[in-house]
């Protein structure tokens, strides 16, 4: 059985660099997450949006990868937000303290509008 491959594209916008995650967030996603963040950094991004969808599968390995990335974002002096997170994933992410490292929004539009006000 093949595991689904996660693709993360990086789009640099005025409000933030959007890391568009298409696929699962698991331990296997970690290299792609950090690579996407590096790409955003190389283009001078100060605000990072991790864009997911309601059906994004996130397991404990993926949560660990997200925590490590968000710690790195904070240590880089950047601001991070997440969008498109399902109700259950939001509950789980809040349990482990992701909400202490990044704001979580229902939609990418709302996240970008809030990030745009952060200086």
């Amino acid at each position: 059985m093949q595991q689904s491959k996660t693709e993360i594209s990086v789009e640099i916008g005025e409000a933030a660099a959007v890391l568009d995650i298409r696929g699962d967030v698991t331990v296997a996603t970690e290299p792609a997450l950090f690579e996407a963040h590096e790409k955003a950094c190389r283009q001078g991004a100060q605000r990072i949006l991790l864009k997911m969808t309601e059906d994004t599968y996130v397991d404990s390995g993926g949560i660990a990868a997200l925590l490590q990335l968000l710690v790195k974002v904070r240590e880089s002096g950047q601001k991070a937000a997440l969008s498109g997170v399902s109700r259950h994933n939001r509950k789980v992410l809040n349990m482990v303290g992701v909400d202490r490292l990044a704001d979580i929004y229902n939609t990418a539009e709302l996240a970008l509008s809030c990030l745009d006000r952060w200086k």
Binding site: M1, Q2, Q3, Y57, D59, S60, G61, I63, A64, L67, Q68, V71, K72, E75, R87, H88, V92, M95, V96, G97, R100, L101
Partner: protein
Amino acid sequence: MTRHHLANTIELDLFNRPGAERIAMTCAGAFAKLAGCPSARIEDLKTVVAEATDNAVTHGNRQRPDGRVKVSIRLEDGAIHVAVTDEGNGLEREVPDPDFDRILAGEAPPAGIGIFLMRRLSDRLAFEPLSKGGHIVRITVRCH
């Protein structure tokens, strides 16, 4: 792979590869939905079953291609009872909850999150060695 042997029970005999956790969680979710569990509890159950099955594949059976993971899902007294069995020796010691203050400060690696979530999202969780060899994780998630 699946056989119905009781009206309120299903049993899965799964290969020991990544992907087994998806099958187990999907079956558990469908079973809980048929049992009338609300969606929030179904999602809790799916996460706990996926984490337990992934642990069985990765740690219990150490990713051996000839290993098997057995998952039993049963409805009783308004709760879903799941047993995940592997061929390993189980936990060598109690796994403490992660120190999230240190993790969020970047002072500790984010380890132990899977078992933390299993504890927090289930109503009962037990790790038991089997006398004939192997290890079983017993999970209870109440529907209401």
